[in-house]
């Protein structure tokens, strides 16, 4: 069972590095539109994330819905043009 590639990553914008303004965690992000966001974390980024550490259950494998500081950093990267957001 080989998992294939998501063509959207080749046909639209690709995943681009973004660093969190709060804790410096490095992730890859992509925005197919202003409202859509993909975030690929690494183990190192997850370990570095301050919000995740502080979240209830964040350390023992409980559900962590997402990091607000990272979300803001990704939005800023999109506004700065570091993340290209395709025109609607």
């Amino acid at each position: 069972m080989t998992v294939r590639r998501d063509d959207r990553l080749a046909d639209g914008p690709g995943m681009r590095p973004v660093r969190c303004d709060r804790c410096g965690a490095g992730v890859e992000a992509r925005k197919a539109s202003w409202q859509q966001t993909s975030v690929q974390w690494t183990a190192a980024a997850a370990a570095a994330c301050a919000e995740r550490r502080a979240a209830p259950g964040g350390q023992d494998g409980g559900l962590f819905l997402g990091c607000e500081a990272l979300r803001a950093s990704i939005t800023r990267a999109a506004l700065d043009g570091a993340l290209v957001v395709p025109d609607p």
């Binding site: 080989t2 998501d6 959207r8 966001t37 993909s38 690929q40 559900l63």
Partner: protein, 385 residues
Amino acid sequence: MTAVDAERGGVRAIGAEAAPTRFARGWHCLGLSERFRDGRPHAVDAFGQRLVVFESGDGRLNVLDAYCRHMGGNLAEGTVKGDEIACPFHDWRWGGDGRCKRIPYARRVPLRARTASWTTLDQDGLLLVWNDPEGNPPPPEVAIPRIEGATRDDWTDWVWGETVVHANCREVIDNVVDMAHFFYVHYSFPTYFKNIFEGHVATQVMKGVRRPDVRPPKAGEGGRVMTGNSSVASYHGPSFMIDDLTYHYDTMDVECVLINCHYPIDANSFVLQSGIIVRRGEGMEGTAADETATKLAAFIAMGFEQDVRIWKSKTRIDNPLLCEEDGPVYQLRRWYEQFYVDVADVRPEMVERFEFELDTSRTTEAWQAEVEANIARRAAAGRPA
């Protein structure tokens, strides 16, 4: 790109390898544990084999390969005797640990008298078995979380249902990321959708509103009008999903826990199960919660039928062609693959955290227009919305 993906004359080819013959490593729920506590052995077809489930005299639920290692008798047709299952053919006695404990007509048990046994977990009224092609015990970090309401008096008992589906179980997993099918197949209206995959857990966060073209805004029992729902559903491993589901009404919220789980029969069929409990409380006094649980269970069973209708006639597809308003199918399958390889072959990208938040602005606009068109058409035909 593989040969099967090759496009000729711009025609997109559907690629599909055969469904894996290996079965996923992980906890699999076999159903309500009380069902197996009637003093009799039960046959269960799972993981390409026939299993026998029996409650031993000590109250434990045990799962063994059903076929006796002596002459192949079917233990599921046998009898529970004390802590052992006795084969109907020659009365050989097998313990829950898979060892032959006694042969009443023999002086001693032969060497190698051991059959396959599965680690079981009887938790929150559910019987789970640990399947691992490598034969390792379940690691503690993949334990199925406790479901608090399942053992509390202020929640209902489980209302359980199951159905056999003749498809590979990847089809039901794909639903985790498939927002649009909830509108077209299940007649719901998602307005928020996010997926999170991390470790052995895959989560779907969804919010939705009632569809006035499907469920007219008439007051139901108790004078309530449903407005929408919020759901946080996580697969804990390859087959067991716990969904914290709240139905919103104009006057109150109804809290539920929905289990959506399955176990493979073989590569091309699986048993799909659902269970629901509903919280009692204000607006849910007396038997109201029980009635709601029964109604919701019927609603979920209808949802399964809607999925099954699609699965029965669709083809397996390894290279779905996606638009940007589809969810992360490929990343979900990358997560799912971890359960089909040896532990040593689990790669970081299968377990590293991935988040995908869907843009619902376009979907909401399109679906709102479709809902309004449906209502207008019915009004024109002289029927009430």
